[in-house]
Each structure stands twice: as structure tokens, then as C-alpha cells.
């Protein structure tokens, strides 16, 4: 195995396309565990952290462009990001311990493609897009289009994610993320839910996106669940529709963390609770 830390995007693309089994490295909190366990046996590791833009959070078009290797701790410490996207930041900050937060990145959480990745439902709800670069050039994709199954992405050989873009927010917009785990900390989601919504001056919901994690082979955008909220004042009738739509979208597995039946039930409960928090945050804005 070889290790390279290129300083230009072109060099990184060339390296990743140069050998049969090459793996990009951001924070390494998944990759090093997989190396140790023999799950991956790359010929080359390409450390992306010296590439321009991979470690920075920049304001862009009223939104934020977050380098793929920015860590959870850096997201939390950013002065503005958590005010505008509290759900994305709280989701990323649920991943692992303080030590993991010092290294684990949004790009890594996305491209590791765990169906239970905490930051991904929050990013999907946020309407985030990713910039991908590779031998064929640059392309933009919706976050929900990146993972295709457990540990699998649509990235072609030599491609990697350089940044994640969170768009500008209209007034009275907010997001939230909740997960169910059987303890208080340091665990993997049994179900995760991200909600992002916008209210008008009368409190009517004008836009909503709902995403679920750990209930399918990848995190899901549940368009029907978002639609259940739009046009409502987030009353009991709207929440009933939200809960039903969230549960209907689930196609989970039974495993040691939870049964199918339990996950489907919890998805509805979490959707309502997450939407309630997002709405409270949106109402709290001046």
C-alpha cells in the first residue's frame, strides 16, 4: 500500500484513477477501521486534506460551501453555520465521540454510505448538493443521489466529493435531526430523521423536506412526508399524514439494533418530533 497527499485536485484525480484499488482519505474514522479489519485492501490511499477547499467552510450565494474533509468539531465551532442549519450541525455532531468529532467529516460520512449515517438524512432534508470531481470533469448531484446501498456509492472510478453545498434560507426556515438509539451517546442510529421546513408569516408551512435514515439500504428523501406538511399549520391532521407517509416509505431490515416493525413505528414518531423541533426553531426566528 502507498500513501499520497496531493496538493492539487488534478493530482488527486490522476492518483485515484492510476491504480486498481485506490481509496480517498478524509478523516479516516471509517477507512482506518476498515483497513485494520481487512474489509478494504487498497493499493493506494490518497489523503484529500491538503487539497484546496477541502478543509474550509465558505459563504456562497447566501449559503455555505463545506469542504468534504471539514470535521464535525469544525462545523460546531463555525459562528454562523449552526444558526442557519442547526439540524445539519446537530446530526454531524452525533457521530461518535469527541475524538471522532475531531476527525470525522461530512464527505466521509456521506461516501462511507452507511444507511445509518447520521449526517446524511439532515443533509438530504436540507436540500444539500455535492460537487464531485473526477477524470470526466466536475458534476453536481443532490446528496440523496450519492449512496446506492450499504457501503456503495454512484461515484465512478477516480471520482471523489470535494464539497457539500447548503443553500440560502428564506426567513422562518429551520431544520432538525433526531435519531433513536437505546442509550444516550456513542451509538448507531436505529432510525434517524431529518426535517427542514419554511413557514410564512401566518405560520403556514410553505416548504418541507423529510428524510429518513436506517430504514432502507440508503438514506431516503420522503417526498410524501414533506408534502404532508406543506400548506398546513403543522396541526394534528398534517402530522397524522406525515407519520403515515414516513412509515410507508420504510423498507428496513431486522438486525440486532431493531426489528422491521419497530423501525417502521419509530420512523413515524421521529418524523413528528423532528418536524416539531424544526417548526419551533423556525417560529423562534425574528
Amino acid at each position: 500500500m502507498r500513501y499520497e497527499a496531493p496538493e492539487t485536485i488534478d493530482a488527486a484525480v490522476a492518483l485515484l484513477g492510476s491504480v486498481g484499488r485506490a481509496r480517498p482519505l478524509a478523516g479516516g474514522t471509517d477507512l482506518l477501521v476498515q483497513l485494520r479489519a481487512g474489509i478494504v485492501e487498497p493499493d493506494l490511499i490518497v489523503d484529500l486534506k491538503k487539497l484546496p477547499g477541502l478543509r474550509t467552510i465558505a459563504k456562497e450565494k447566501g449559503g455555505f460551501r463545506i469542504g468534504a474533509a471539514v470535521t464535525g468539531a469544525e462545523l460546531r465551532e463555525h459562528p454562523d453555520l449552526r444558526k442557519v442549519w442547526p439540524g445539519v450541525v446537530e446530526a454531524a455532531n452525533l457521530i461518535g465521540s469527541t475524538q471522532i468529532q475531531g476527525r470525522a467529516s461530512l464527505g466521509g460520512n456521506l461516501c462511507n454510505a452507511s444507511p445509518a449515517a447520521d449526517s446524511v438524512p439532515a443533509l438530504i432534508a436540507a436540500g444539500a448538493t455535492v460537487t464531485i470531481i473526477g477524470p470526466g470533469g466536475q458534476r453536481e448531484l443532490a446528496v440523496e443521489a450519492v449512496a446506492s446501498g450499504p457501503g456503495k456509492t454512484i461515484l465512478a472510478k477516480g471520482e471523489f466529493v470535494t464539497s457539500i453545498f447548503l443553500p440560502a434560507r428564506p426567513p422562518r426556515s429551520a431544520d432538525a435531526y433526531l435519531r433513536f438509539i437505546p442509550r444516550t451517546e456513542m451509538d448507531i442510529a436505529v432510525v434517524g430523521c431529518g426535517v427542514s421546513l419554511t413557514l410564512d408569516q401566518s405560520g403556514t408551512c410553505t416548504a418541507a423536506r423529510v428524510a429518513l435514515g436506517a430504514v432502507a439500504e440508503r438514506a431516503l428523501l420522503v417526498a410524501e412526508a414533506g408534502a404532508a406538511l406543506i400548506g398546513s399549520k403543522l396541526d394534528a391532521a398534517a402530522f397524522e399524514k406525515l407519520i403515515a407517509a414516513a412509515r410507508k416509505a420504510c423498507r428496513p431490515i431486522d438486525d440486532k439494533r431493531g426489528t422491521k416493525v419497530f423501525r417502521i413505528d419509530i420512523a413515524g414518531v421521529l418524523a413528528q418530533r423532528t418536524a416539531t423541533i424544526a417548526a419551533e426553531r423556525a417560529r423562534g426566528q425574528k
Partner: protein, 158 residues
């Protein structure tokens, strides 16, 4: 296999070492630099026994490739006492008997130091969440948490 030359600063001292791509920072600290205070325990980032401070960030050195240390500042448990004088956290851990077998202790001391450098007046809840990535199978954590809170109070007074 060709080895890579790495220069870094460990506990204030410039160091140079040769490493293979597979070696973690923990491997190099323990096996090449003879800094065996950082412990190898789970090797998967779950237990925190290998915690070090890397450019000001608390990390698990088992989840850092040694080649990534190029140009970085690394703080380990060996740099915590100043000669014979223990760091206040070390002294309070002894006073509170906040350790038994001792395997987790270097990692917990480093993690607690990183916390107090950021937050001189943490609540008990903050201490417990900050240290959630440091597993101790002996003490039940209460003595550790009390030692950290007492140290914080002492350091605020001085």
C-alpha cells in the same frame, strides 16, 4: 516496501521518523519513538486509550496514519508533567483514586486536558459527554468526573 520520512513536533520536541503507509500514529509513538504512555486497546476508535492532541484537536492516534503527522504538533501523556511536577489533573486523579488498572488513564488525562483548555468551567454533564469516548472498565467514572471537576476549580483559582 519504501518508508516515508515524516517530521513532526511531539511534546514540543522536533522528531523525525520513517514509517510504512500502514503504520498508525499510535504505532509510531509506541514502537519507534518509545512513547508507550498512549495505550493500544481497541484499535478502532471506540475506547480512547490512545488519545493524543493533534494540532490542538483531541483524536484517537489509532485512527491517524503516521504519514498524516507530517508537519503536525502532537501532545501525548509524556508531555503532561513538567519534569517531576505533575499536571494538576494528574495530581487530582491520584488524590481521588480516579484510576485502578491504569490502561485508560493516559487517554482520559489527555482528553480532560483538551477539555479544560477549551472550557475552564465545564458542567458535570459536559465532562461526561466530552469523556464519552474514553472507556474505563474499573472506576465507574464517578471518581474520574469528580477529579476533572475539582481540577477545573483549582485551575480557575490559580
Amino acid at each position: 516496501m519504501s518508508k516515508r520520512h515524516v517530521s513532526a513536533v511531539v511534546n514540543g520536541d522536533p522528531v523525525e521518523f520513517l514509517c510504512t503507509p500502514e503504520q498508525t500514529l499510535l504505532d509510531v509513538l509506541r514502537d519507534d519513538l518509545d512513547l508507550t504512555g498512549s495505550k493500544e486497546c481497541c484499535s478502532s476508535g471506540d475506547c480512547g486509550a490512545c488519545s493524543v492532541i493533534l494540532d490542538g484537536r483531541l483524536v484517537c492516534s489509532c485512527l491517524v496514519l503516521s504519514a498524516e503527522a507530517e508537519g503536525k504538533r502532537i501532545e501525548t501523556i509524556e508531555g503532561m508533567a513538567k519534569g517531576e511536577e505533575l499536571h494538576p489533573l494528574q495530581r487530582r486523579f491520584l488524590e481521588h483514586a480516579a484510576l485502578q488498572c491504569g490502561i485508560c488513564t493516559p487517554g482520559i488525562l489527555i482528553a480532560a486536558k483538551a477539555l479544560l483548555e477549551r472550557e475552564p468551567d465545564p458542567s458535570e454533564t459536559e465532562v461526561r459527554f466530552w469523556l464519552a469516548g474514553n472507556l474505563c472498565r474499573c472506576t465507574g467514572y464517578d471518581k474520574i468526573v469528580r477529579a476533572v471537576l475539582d481540577t477545573a476549580a483549582e485551575m480557575r483559582r490559580s
